[in-house]
């Protein structure tokens, strides 16, 4: 249930994001989710891709600072109350969320979460019978 997310350090310079995506594109890497966190000077690009190990090697060759981070993903209805429920389960267990991003398809939301304790979060969400996704699931939706 753990998803291996690719994290890339980027300077805030125009063209850098394009370079990352072009590099991945050359090797036919597919991307199912993407988000950029930014400060005034740098940003962190987070990607869920078809082959994270290969993508990491590709980017390292091109001198990017890149790492693999463990995240989890849940599919819920796109109603706010369902997202709230997920967060409540985690906060009740004192699991903090370092960041999250989401997208939706039809009336479904795909939520990606980076938690302080991934294993425990998975257990808790399973106990509540939430719909945890595997990486491969993300590419089938």
């Amino acid at each position: 249930m753990i998803i291996h997310q690719l994290s890339v350090f980027l300077e805030n310079k125009s063209g850098r994001l394009t370079e990352v995506l072009e590099a991945l594109g050359q090797e036919n890497v597919r991307i199912t989710a993407l988000s950029v966190a930014d400060t005034s000077e740098f940003g962190i690009l987070r990607l869920i891709v078809s082959d994270p190990e290969k993508a990491r090697a590709l980017l390292r060759e091109r001198m990017f600072t890149v790492n693999i981070t463990e995240v989890i993903s849940i599919m819920t209805s796109n109603e706010a109350k369902h997202f709230a429920k997920v967060l409540k389960i985690l906060s009740d267990l004192d699991i903090s969320i370092e960041y999250t991003y989401a997208y939706s398809i039809g009336d479904k939301s795909i939520i990606i979460l980076r938690c302080s304790n991934t294993e425990e979060a998975i257990r808790a969400l399973k106990d509540h019978e939430l719909d945890l996704l595997k990486a491969s699931d993300l590419f089938r939706i």
Binding site: F9, L10, E11, T39
Partner: protein
């Protein structure tokens, strides 16, 4: 034009050479018998005190460098017992070890004398109010100007650096006539005067003595125009004595070196050969009257050239050109010396980063700024903004506490900093000299 010490400053050059040779003999004898470091270096070179009879023999002696001062930190090169030392100054140094200099009572008198010459060179006299905005403290700037100002009988205002509003108030209310500070601070003050709307007619400034950092002819023109003063370039370094080593006269055509105290040579920094008059090279000084910390052929790393022709002001003392740069990679940031290697050693002490860095120096509103770009390493990068921000802050704090200047840190991608097999380029200096 007034001359403080006509006897020496206008001395006929053959007579001057006789004086210099006699003083060099005395100095060499003193260091040979009082400083083990110099004695062993001379012995290694097969020299005794009798080997040096005149200025013509000086080339036989080995050079002294800033590293030698560091290796003998703090007082190892002093040539008199500590009971004879009445003052100690220090300049910012590499990784926490400053360069320490000591003065005997006579050295302080010498320093006051050469500063009196400097101020007289700039046209100052007993009727002036000298506004000393150089820092007071371990830095030699403030106290050097202070003693020189008192020596010529002027009224010295020891304002020291900083607090621009107070500087301007005192300048106006006391009627300061001579301003002493770094050239970049002079420009900064000029702009502050414009901003606060103080009329130049309300000020009595007529001359400025500026040094401790390199500056251009354009800066001089700008300062002269904005402050309606004559801007005089002065030169010195704490190892040799502090300010007072050399100064322009009102002809503003080269800086007169007080050669009866500091014997200059110009060498090729690569081959170490002595260069003839007019050739650009590294300035080397032998102090020939100092007691506390005599220096033999000290490499200043400043690049310039010398002219022995008599000046229109009547002085015969050799003139050096305004400094043209450095033969090492030392930067001068707001009057503070900074070597890239100092930054590197701070970075090397931090396990989170690799010492791939670039220093970018600029001048914003007439004040020097330094940015340090550091590469983020895969091993440390864990995709949390807070962690990267904390790292940035930590590097910034470590630099400030070790080097004493604030440096803005920017995290960059690995390939942004050029790799090089040989000597990597570590500094981009955007300031215009």
């Amino acid at each position: 034009m007034e001359i403080w010490n006509r006897h020496f400053e206008c001395m006929e050059r053959t007579e001057l050479k006789r004086v210099q040779s006699e003083r060099i003999r005395e100095t060499v004898e003193r260091v040979y018998f009082n400083v083990p470091y110099y004695r062993s270096k001379m012995q290694e070179a097969g020299l005794g005190p009798e080997s040096i009879q005149s200025t013509d023999d000086l080339h036989k002696l080995p050079f002294t460098t800033k590293q030698d001062l560091r290796d003998n930190y703090p007082f190892g090169l002093f040539a008199v017992p500590m009971s004879e030392i009445v003052r100690v100054h220090a300049s910012s140094g590499t990784t926490g070890k400053p360069t320490v200099v000591g003065y005997s009572r006579r050295d302080i008198a010498t320093w006051s004398e050469v500063m009196a010459r400097t101020l007289t060179c700039a046209g100052a006299n007993r009727n002036d109010f000298i506004h000393v905005a150089y820092g007071y403290g371990l830095f030699t700037g403030g106290l050097g100007l202070h003693y020189g100002g008192e020596k010529i009988g002027a009224s010295v205002i020891p304002v020291s650096g900083g607090n621009t509003a107070r500087q301007l108030q005192l300048m106006r209310d006391f009627g300061s006539t001579v301003l002493a500070c770094t050239p970049s601070y002079a420009l900064f003050l000029a702009e502050a005067i414009e901003e606060t709307g103080i009329s130049l007619d309300a000020l009595k400034l007529r001359v400025g003595v500026f040094g401790a950092e390199p500056w251009t002819e354009n800066m001089r023109k700008e300062i002269e125009k904005k402050l309606r003063i004559k801007a005089i370039d002065i030169y010195g370094l704490s190892e040799v004595i502090g300010p007072g080593v050399a100064s322009e006269c009102l002809a503003q055509n080269g800086l007169h070196i007080s050669e009866d105290h500091f014997y200059p040579e110009i060498i090729d920094p690569e081959t170490l050969e002595i260069l003839p008059e007019g050739k650009i090279g590294e300035l080397v000084f032998t102090t020939i009257t100092k007691e506390g910390l005599p220096l033999i052929r000290y490499r200043t790393r400043d690049l310039t050239r010398l002219y022995y022709e008599k000046c229109s002001c009547g002085r015969t003392m050799v003139r050096m050109e305004k400094c043209l740069g450095r033969s090492d990679d030392m930067l001068i940031i707001r009057g503070v010396n900074l070597f890239p290697s100092q930054v590197e050693s701070v970075l090397l002490e931090m396990s989170e980063i690799k010492p791939h860095y670039m220093l970018i120096v600029d001048r914003v509103n007439n004040l020097d700024t330094v940015e340090l770009q550091v590469e983020v390493d895969d091993a440390f990068f864990q995709d949390k903004i807070s962690q990267l921000e904390a790292l940035r802050q930590k590097i910034q704090n470590n630099l400030e506490s070790t080097l004493g200047i604030s440096i803005r840190v920017t995290l960059v991608e690995p390939k942004s900093i050029e790799r090089s097999e040989s000597k990597a380029k570590r500094v981009i200096d955007k300031r215009i000299y």
